[in-house]
Symmetry: C2
Subunit: 369 residues, 2 copies
């Protein structure tokens, strides 16, 4: 600790640690993050940033055991920072985040046998096994739970072990089976081409849980593809299509007797740094495109291109859920679909619910403590 | 109807109506939206866009009473479009949306007496009154319900009349009162400077409902400001600050024993067209800024600027909720706060919940049918 050196600069305090790490801490940043400004129980910031002048200076900064003590110029206040805390929070680096797990992209040659897998018993009772499973599930975006009880509530209980459920206009849970008077194609026996759910929502649900209670009908196999792999390949091989799909919002809409939920979304959604954030791909819920007529043909070319990729064996994997299995997937990354089934040959019933990405990541962080 | 004229162009069909409206319909758009491709009950698109060639042509297009009949070249198929439907959905225009209501900005001279107001009885029982109230509430982003029953469930019931409730890590509902061992500053008697709730969430909740069950303590007045007015004034008067606040994601974080929910957000969030979409402003939940040190001072200047605006009488209005009143506001537009109160002088208890923007808009559309 004694090998830390401090140096005042142009409104920054430079701290150099013994291991060679060095960082600049702007005065305002230091004052804003003074430990005395946070509520001891809620950890929330109570300090009022407008209470100090923009020109706040430092009278003195010195080492004090494991800490750095600052006396402010322009305000009657002293701050005391733990040197390790400063190192972990140095500007330009960002706090370490156990849930920051980059996706491992997969394509059509990926074997379903290689999917992350956990038993329902371990998921419910073993924190360490659950953490490992959640981390692997974030990597692939797709995973299986087996040994589920033949109980309509079992899928919900497993999902709630990760986070509270995200309600939608279809309810807190939903039943995927052939029904009379369906308000959604999932509730028919028709084939469902690969899609993301509820692209018509402002924020479509994150992780989807589909507990297979019965799959005895002929047909009804499950298909998946990694939408991020498709998008990255498109970015590389057809940048014009990628550009159109990531910059052009198109309408999505669901409407029935009780709801009319609409939203313009880009098919490919990037974050502020150009990194893939989520996909919105759902031909059933795609509205009537409202682009100007003269850009429509170029857009359709790009849209058909990504659609064809979602039908290609280069990307699609096929599996068949058995009763007692539950599939978990990131609905904003991994597209899901199913083959048509014949409801006269047997019963097929999946029960689903959603846990959003925020709660999923939160569980990883809390289990990582 | 006989005055409609059709003209084939470069892969577009031009339709001209008697009133002078004229529009180009690209061939692929027409085929993609052929009414035969939609499920009759779910209204969802079943047509497979990859089943036709990109070069699909038109053999003939002709008027047929109120409709336009197209015979396709390259596929054995006829389409029949209602001429009015085509006009309503013409490219570049977009479907009419009753929920597309531009905000009416307000500032510190806005009188709380001018807020949209409805009685709980009308909200619960009168569809027409509710629709008018929802439209006005979208304009101002802030409104009052009065005559609420002195019943802990009354606020929830009113909110559910609009849409299902958005659950968060604080529950489906939350109690705003002074509590021992708080995990949130709202649950103390401290002053709360103006903020938006849960800026640490991927999508912070939309409309907030706060039912005032008791407000008998000294202090505890409510403050509000229109964040969109502040942002638009900043865009005009300090474009550099606006640019930094709308382009620079900063971390927000809530953590307690059960959750650790983090998200980088820009303080000002714009849609693809540069229009204000939402604000994320919450100094309590703002994390430790992780920008590079050399951009930190410029960012702090911008951040302090908007913070000072949220404290200025140019923008802030003050009111005092009475028992039996409920305030509704768009949490991603209107910032809310309160004065400190003295819990020894009387009881203060608000009960809150959220309905997201998507469901709020959906209710406007359904009631507008």
């Amino acid at each position: 600790m004694t090998s830390i050196t401090l140096r005042g600069g142009d409104r920054v305090l430079t701290v150099a640690w013994a291991d060679g790490t060095s960082a600049d801490f702007p005065f305002l940043w230091l004052r804003d993050n003074c430990p005395s400004g946070f509520h001891p129980q809620t950890h929330e910031r109570e300090f009022d940033l407008t209470s100090i002048p923009e020109t706040l200076g430092i009278l003195s900064a010195e080492l004090d055991g494991e800490a750095i003590r600052i006396e402010w110029d322009g305000e009657e206040h002293q701050s005391r920072f733990d040197a390790d805390w400063l190192k972990a929070h140095r500007p330009g680096v960002g706090l370490n985040d156990p849930a920051n797990i980059p996706p491992t992209l997969w394509r059509g040659d990926f074997q379903p046998a290689g999917l992350p897998r956990i038993s329902a018993a371990d998921l419910m009772n073993d924190d360490k096994a659950l953490l490992g499973f959640l981390i692997e599930t974030k990597k692939t975006g797709l995973a299986i739970v087996d040994g589920m009880a033949d109980d309509r509530e079992a899928g919900m209980a497993a999902a709630k072990r990760i986070g509270f459920l995200r309600e939608t206009n279809f309810g807190v849970t939903f039943e995927v089976r052939s029904m009379p008077n369906p308000n959604n194609l999932a509730y028919t026996s028709h084939a469902l081409p690969l899609h993301t759910d509820l692209a018509n929502q402002e924020l479509p649900p994150g992780f989807q849980f589909l507990h297979c209670l019965a799959n005895d009908a002929e047909g009804g196999g499950s298909t998946f593809c990694d939408g991020f792999a498709i998008a990255e390949d498109l970015r590389l091989n057809d940048p014009e299509a990628f550009e159109l799909l990531s910059k052009t919002p198109v309408p999505f809409r669901f409407h029935d007797d009780n709801y009319d939920i609409r939203r313009h979304q880009t098919v490919i959604d990037l974050d502020a740094f150009g990194k893939l954030q989520e996909l919105h791909f759902n031909a059933h819920l795609a509205g009537v495109f409202d682009l100007p007529a003269d850009t429509m043909e170029a857009y359709y070319r790009a849209y058909r291109k990504i659609m064809q990729m979602t039908r290609s064996s280069d990307y699609v994997i096929t599996t068949r859920l058995e009763g007692g299995e539950m599939v978990i997937f990131d609905n904003r990354r991994v597209l899901h679909g199913r083959a048509a089934f014949d409801p006269n040959t047997g019963y097929r019933h999946l029960r689903g619910c959603y846990v959003d990405r925020g709660e999923f990541d939160s569980r990883i962080r809390v289990l990582s403590r």
